[in-house]
Symmetry: C2
């Protein structure tokens, strides 16, 4: 199998959600594995001095129009969540806890959380809400609640976020194909063209 595609996303990012609904299919079309990496985008925003989009004058209004429109174009569900940006710590910690033992299950959880948040408009800010979603996938509720409070898991997420920033990640989604960085859900077309042509 060829080199994997690295898919960085923030659970609280609507564009991360939009890209998450497409990236596995894109990888599959070109025989590429896709490795998912949740990050805490707030840490990256500190580097660039940007604020969360929803809290930025003018950009917030555009986002509220652009995201539902983009979702309709892709044919994926979208419902505005009650709190934006959500606190994504519990979701991200649950992912990094699960991934080393069962990457497939971790990705299923990520997809379920993203769908609940952006597809159904549910809040995902608390460990209990993540545990509810995890339970429906057969993940033990008590184990998850313990894991997301575990200092070692907190540290792993922090290290992975720092490694992502070190690599140049400052937004969500951020995708690496053969070392080439692509930022934004609106770059999926370019990602696909890159895969089809082997660069240009």
């Amino acid at each position: 199998m060829s080199v994997a595609i690295d898919f960085y996303f923030e659970f609280a990012s609507p564009y991360g959600y939009l890209a998450s609904t497409q990236i596995d299919d894109i990888g599959a079309r070109y025989g590429r594995e896709v490795v998912w990496h949740p990050i805490m985008l707030g840490a990256a925003l500190k580097q660039t001095g940007a604020r969360p989009l929803m809290q930025t004058p003018l950009k917030g209004a555009y986002l509220q129009r652009d995201v539902p429109r983009f979702a309709r174009l892709l044919g994926v569900p979208f419902k505005e969540p009650p709190v934006m940006p959500a606190n994504s710590l519990a979701a991200s910690r649950a992912f990094v806890w699960l991934a080393p033992g069962d990457a497939v299950l971790a990705r299923q959880l990520a997809k379920s959380v993203l769908h609940a948040h952006w597809g159904e408009g549910r809040d995902i800010s608390t460990a209990d809400q993540i545990a509810d979603i995890a339970s429906s996938l057969g993940i033990d509720r008590g184990d998850l609640l313990q894991a997301v409070a575990d200092q070692r898991i907190k540290d792993v997420l922090k290290e992975q976020t720092e490694a992502a920033i070190e690599r140049g990640v400052y937004g969500s989604p951020f995708i690496f194909v053969d070392g080439e960085p692509f930022w934004g859900a609106d770059r999926l077309d370019q990602v696909e063209r890159w895969l089809a042509r082997g660069g240009w």
Copy 2:
């Protein structure tokens, strides 16, 4: 003829340049006039709190990779200018001076300035540099130098920039089709799909 497409751009923005090489062809394919609007993006950035991309940590490095790559994909020339961001006051004032009398000539000047700056890597920060480019299009050098120093022209540009911000413009390029806003050179595909389908 149907409603015109409004194309807002900043001369100092590489993504504005990339979009400028495509937008007229896109309009022509769907029988739409395209109205060009140069803006002083710095005024909009003050609203959103953003800094010029090149001066932003992480984003600047991405930009230096992304812009040439995007230009190669579109098949348009790109050479990094000596100064970024350039001072685009003279270019923008020259445009708003010419446009009311001869919109075609104003657009020719804009294209020549954008090509000189982003296609050939030439500086465009001074009135003399803009006058050089204008001369090659048959525009009187003295008239242009006088116009870009004229307080009435300065005021027109300021008013047009303020009107753009009022409409929600905060980046370059920014495109309105049938009242729908699209931000970014990477949204040209969506602009085209919107035109083809009449929305979605």
